[in-house]
Amino acid sequence: MRRLLWPAVVLALLLLVNVFTPNFFSIQVRDGHLYGTLIDILRFGAPLILVSLGMTLVIATGGIDLSVGSVVAISGALACLQISEDAGVFTAVVLALGLSLLLGAWNGFLVAGIGIQPIIATLILMVAGRGLAQLITDGQIITINSPAYKVIGGGYWLTLPFGILIVIGVLAITAFLTRQLALGMLIESVGGNAEASRLAGIRARGIIIMVYAFAALCAGVAGLMISSNVSSADGNNAGLWIELDAILAVVIGGTALSGGRFSLGGTVLGALIIQTLTTTIYSIGVPPETTLLFKALVVTAVCLIQSPSFRAKAFRRRRRAVLPGAASEERVRVTT
């Protein structure tokens, strides 16, 4: 729980900044749905949370997945293409998620089967996948009109946005599989030392392929959400740079990039921090041109706070600053 302290403090601080923004904290019920800025943060943050959850497990095995943004685009493109060709929504969703799983397994095969470094193995799909998404959409933006598909990213159920429910579902399943069953420990052991865990009888190869497939599946669902929210698929821009945001969310959440340890709660907090930051920047009226500057500053600050050596240095400096002061006080007392 102590690991979640700093991310939680940052999130609370970010939310506090908005105290003076009118209507920021108000949540209303309109047309039987919940409305409000806080709900919007959750709704627009849902794809990022999903992608980050998948990324967490990949990073826990000591890997990294740069291709999730491309998978987001491919999954949205394929689903929209199917729907625009009069296929059923269910078929479209199943096909898109199936292809995502396949792409993830391909990543996992490159990493575990052939032994390519994860960052390069997934860079291949990141570059080629963006092309693949444009190939599916033929370089155009596919616009669709399907109320059933719209539900995934823009619909409501039990007064809550459907996207949030999907996130809660995926989070619950992941948390159960990794924390109630042995799977999480196996993943951490592979990330800690792949060779040692193999000698201990863990099938590291299978676990690595599985986490990459899971990451791609999460990205696929996020792609469906993003494309359904705007009822169109843009092979070029959908999910662009979401991999960087996701990696940031994971790191801010306290999962080390070196692997061997992960925190799902931290990742959710990290993704919420990034989304809240974006919303806050808009709501306090910072010009959109400087959004990235703020992001850079907050990210640096969060990483510095979490770095043990930074805390040690800052702490030592303060103590050193205190000591001479105390000593002089002493001397003053002696002379009087």
């Binding site: 390069i120 092309g131 444009q134 070196s258 500057l293 850079a296 930074f310 240095k313």
Partner: protein, 327 residues
């Protein structure tokens, strides 16, 4: 390691990845020459250099960082920031180029220095630090302006249009000359100076380098500074090439640079690789673009798929060869 040779060929193992890339490049050129009319000429190769001089300079900086086992994601944004600063300073207050260019180089190196310091002093992963640097530089671009700023300075336009004639109707641009100087300088630093040896040692094993008494921290900070300097210089070359400053220039260039370095056979884990490989890697990326422009009907997305495929084939070959030589 240096004495180890591969079977009958007699090539030291450490040169093998570079050799593979070289062969791949020659093969691509031959195939292109057979397929397309007018492809097999010296000027086509020189044009690859002319169109990619800035990428070459940036990739040189990236090679330094990757050799120490780090990574620098900020290079593309620093390139964009450099074009933006030079364009806005010359268009607005009308600063002369001989003031603007040094200033830009200092800013780029300064950003690299700060990132290197944070990586070393606070032990934060380079990936994250340089990612923040990437946001920072891109954000500064947009703060300066969101529109493209044209460059009309006579010195810059002269640099952009100047041709340096070589023999037999072949020509290069001044940017290529600058890039070549950077490559030569970098080769000298990597192979003939103490810093170069420290870089390879740090990348090979940081722990051993520390125990040997090498200045690991200073080396790390230096490579990020070099990378920042190279990115800024790449930005200056890009503004010669584009004659404009724009916050959306060089989006994703960091990945091109990393890909070029890796295609050139440098290991991302650090400690192994050559600058010649990086030059070949940039040439491979440039030649793919050339082939696609000769093909004419190929759409831009096939370019991406093709680059991905080629990256895959190359890395597969590299794995196969290195696995065989280890036996």
């Amino acid at each position: 390691m240096t004495t180890m040779t591969l079977g009958r060929t007699g090539v030291p193992t450490k040169y093998l990845p570079v050799l593979v890339t070289g062969c791949l490049l020659v093969a691509m050129f031959v195939v292109g020459g057979i397929r397309y009319e007018g492809f097999a000429s010296g000027q086509v190769i020189l044009n690859v250099f002319i169109d990619n001089a800035f990428l070459l300079v940036v990739a040189v900086g990236m090679t330094f960082v990757i050799l120490t086992g780090g990574i620098d994601l900020s290079v593309g944004s620093v390139v964009a920031l450099s074009t933006m600063i030079s364009a806005s300073l010359m268009a607005g207050p009308g600063w002369p180029p001989y003031l603007v260019i040094p200033l830009v180089l200092v800013i780029g190196s300064g950003l690299g220095l700060v990132m290197g310091y944070i990586v070393h002093a606070f032990d934060i992963q380079p990936f994250v630090v340089t990612l923040a640097g990437m946001f920072l530089a891109r954000g500064l671009c947009y703060t300066i302006g969101t529109d493209s700023i044209p460059i009309e300075d006579p010195t810059f336009t002269a640099f952009a249009q100047d041709r340096i004639d070589l023999f037999a109707d072949l020509w290069i641009s001044p940017s290529v000359l600058i890039a070549a100087l950077v490559v030569l300088g970098a080769v000298y630093v990597l192979h003939y100076t103490r810093l170069g040896r420290s870089i390879y040692a740090t990348g090979g094993s940081e722990q051993s380098a520390l125990l040997m008494g090498l200045p690991v921290g200073r080396t790390k900070i230096t490579v990020y500074t070099i990378s920042g300097f190279c990115s800024a210089l790449g930005g200056v070359l890009l503004s010669f090439y584009m004659l404009s400053g724009y916050g959306l220039h060089a989006v994703g260039m960091e990945l091109d640079a990393i890909a070029a370095v890796v295609i050139g056979g440098t290991l991302l884990t650090g400690g192994s690789g050559f600058l010649l490989g990086t030059v070949l890697g940039v040439l491979v990326l440039g030649l793919i673009q050339t082939i696609i422009s000769f093909e004419g009907t190929l759409s831009s997305w096939w370019t991406k798929i093709f680059i991905g495929l080629l990256l895959f084939v190359f890395i597969l070959l590299q794995r196969v060869f290195s696995a065989r030589s280890r036996r």
